[in-house]
Assembly symmetry: none
Homo-oligomer: 190 residues x 4
DNA sequence: AATGAATGAGTATTCATTCAT
DNA sequence: TATGAATGAATACTCATTCAT
């Protein structure tokens, strides 16, 4: 991605995160990117058209996070725990921006492009499940591809529930993680 | 709920659904409700403050749906299937409006009020799980209260994935339901 | 004046004083008067049409003040001092409302009615000057009627200057009064 | 002053004068200035915030007028007459706009800025009085600075009384000028 | 490519006034 | 008379986008 395009995108992530889609002003975005108002439109045709770029960056960040935190050689149980921790962490940091992308569906005409966002996630989980299947760590009846999206949905929704309201304390969140882990474990093993 | 307040809320649901939060005009809402512009502000202090009322109505609809579709006397497996069907159905019909409510979190300052929204859902699932626990239909180590929210999150996220893109066909959706059912079954039984 | 009309007028004085003409709401006025919104319109055809009633009340208050504070039997010098004190006091308490009445000229179509407001003031001063003239306390070339308005204008403008900005302290104000007294004395005597 | 800012200010003076503060529309002001609606807000944050600029322009006009009409080398009596004529003339032409500025005090939060408006006037009169004092044309006990504001107040209030109601005819106004002149003369000379 | 001043369409909200009771 | 819910006209201000430099 062009250097300037990238800095606009990063600034946009910040601004959208802080103010939400509606209240985010192009003037804030360009201020954050250190460019002039007009320059924005050399790189993006409209305010909402930054969204796909944002998604791209988010996917990057996510895969980095997963790669960094999931030990390829560990047992599936360990990997599952690492996956839960990673998703919770990502949700904590980027819940608003992810919700934004989701909400962007309504506001923009970029629906098609979003479809690709989750693919890399799913592929990563799918790979994990496959290895576990081969190693006999999960039941053989598991259809890894289908279960991948279901498993990720499960973890994400739990993380969402945890971080939606700031009132949640750390202990409750830790408990939620353990609950999800146990729930998923029973679902996959046996 | 006051009769006029209710008709404003119902009209708002329609308008928000059709145009999205941003493009929804108060003038459209009042037109739909058959009242004057100023009357709106006798019942709600601002455009976004209708959201909690919308949520209230949605909860009503949802509980009606669950009550109607879940057979209290059926086995837990049957009930789980009915729950999945109901949530998928609700998601299909109201995904936009639910996303709206969720997005409303960011835009408005009504965060506190939303926290109560899911309570009745969870309570319903909790009751289901409890009966199943007593009847020995699910494993005894289940903490029904915690699992209720996780289970609902699981089903909802799967439904979301199914209806996010209209490209999904019926067969895929049916398959998704079966997958979720099996996943949840393994997680809860044993 | 009808009792209710009077209580509306008194409330209007308060509200106009606190918020200014533009920001004064009829709803505030009726709240202060302890009546319903619609009742206002049984006594006044519009918001601005309270103005003449306000003027009436202000004239009342002013004449009371002058009568109370100016000793009919005192020498003209003493009376002049008392007049200055009274006008300063009235200005301090009612500057906004007097400015309002003045500004009301622009906003309302009640121009004609305002013309009468100052008459009683002038008449009072005229009477004072006349007595002083007869007693030989001021120069014989004074045309009392003309000078009355000029004298009152002099004192009022000084008072205005004193109270326009709250920054003025008591000592400065006392000095202003002495200056005006001396100025007027030289103008009238000799 | 920036060229565009000035043209907005001049247009605002016209519009305020014609319609009053309340009914003056920003859309009228920008039309008169030949700019777009949004451009107004590049130069002024709100409708009322043009007021200080208007005051600035008025001060300019006034000082020009005084400089033009008061003969620096004439005797104080002549200068006083010229001052009275100038103030009456200015009041005649700009009474509404001056009242507006005064009223602006109540409506806006620009009170502080107005305090400076009259300074140049006073300074001008002070200078006049000083020269007269040195030349022995007025009594030596005159405190020029204090008397300057009182004298200007006297003349302005007389002018206000003259032009407040359009019914006043030229002869009455000429008489008023003579009365003020005599009043001031007696007050200052001796 | 970059700038940033200028544009002008678009709308939530207020509040004086009305009117059915 | 009195009420107060309902009305709906009216407008300041914002901000995405454009364009002359």
């Amino acid at each position: 991605m062009d250097d300037k395009k990238r800095s606009i995108t990063l600034s946009a992530i910040n601004v959208f995160q802080e103010k939400g889609i509606e209240k985010a002003k192009v003037s804030d975005i360009v201020k954050g990117a250190g460019i002039a108002q007009g320059t924005f439109y050399l790189y993006f045709p409209s305010k909402l058209s930054v969204m796909p770029s944002i998604a791209e960056v988010m996917v990057e960040k996510t895969l980095e996070e997963l790669t960094k935190n999931i030990d390829e050689k560990a047992s599936f149980k360990i990997q599952l725990e690492q996956l839960i921790n990673s998703v919770f962490e990502l949700t904590k940091n980027y819940r608003e921006i992810l919700a934004l992308i989701y909400a962007g569906l309504a506001s923009s005409e970029h629906l098609q492009e979003w479809e690709a966002i989750y693919e890399p996630y799913y592929a990563q989980i799918d790979k994990m499940l496959n290895r576990a299947l081969i190693n006999g760590e999960i039941r053989q009846s598991i259809q890894t591809k289908q279960i991948a999206s279901i498993l990720l949905g499960l973890i994400e929704s739990a993380a969402d529930q945890s971080y939606l309201y700031d009132s949640q304390n750390d202990e409750k969140i830790a408990q939620k993680k353990r609950d999800v882990f146990e729930f998923a474990t029973h679902a996959l093993f046996n």
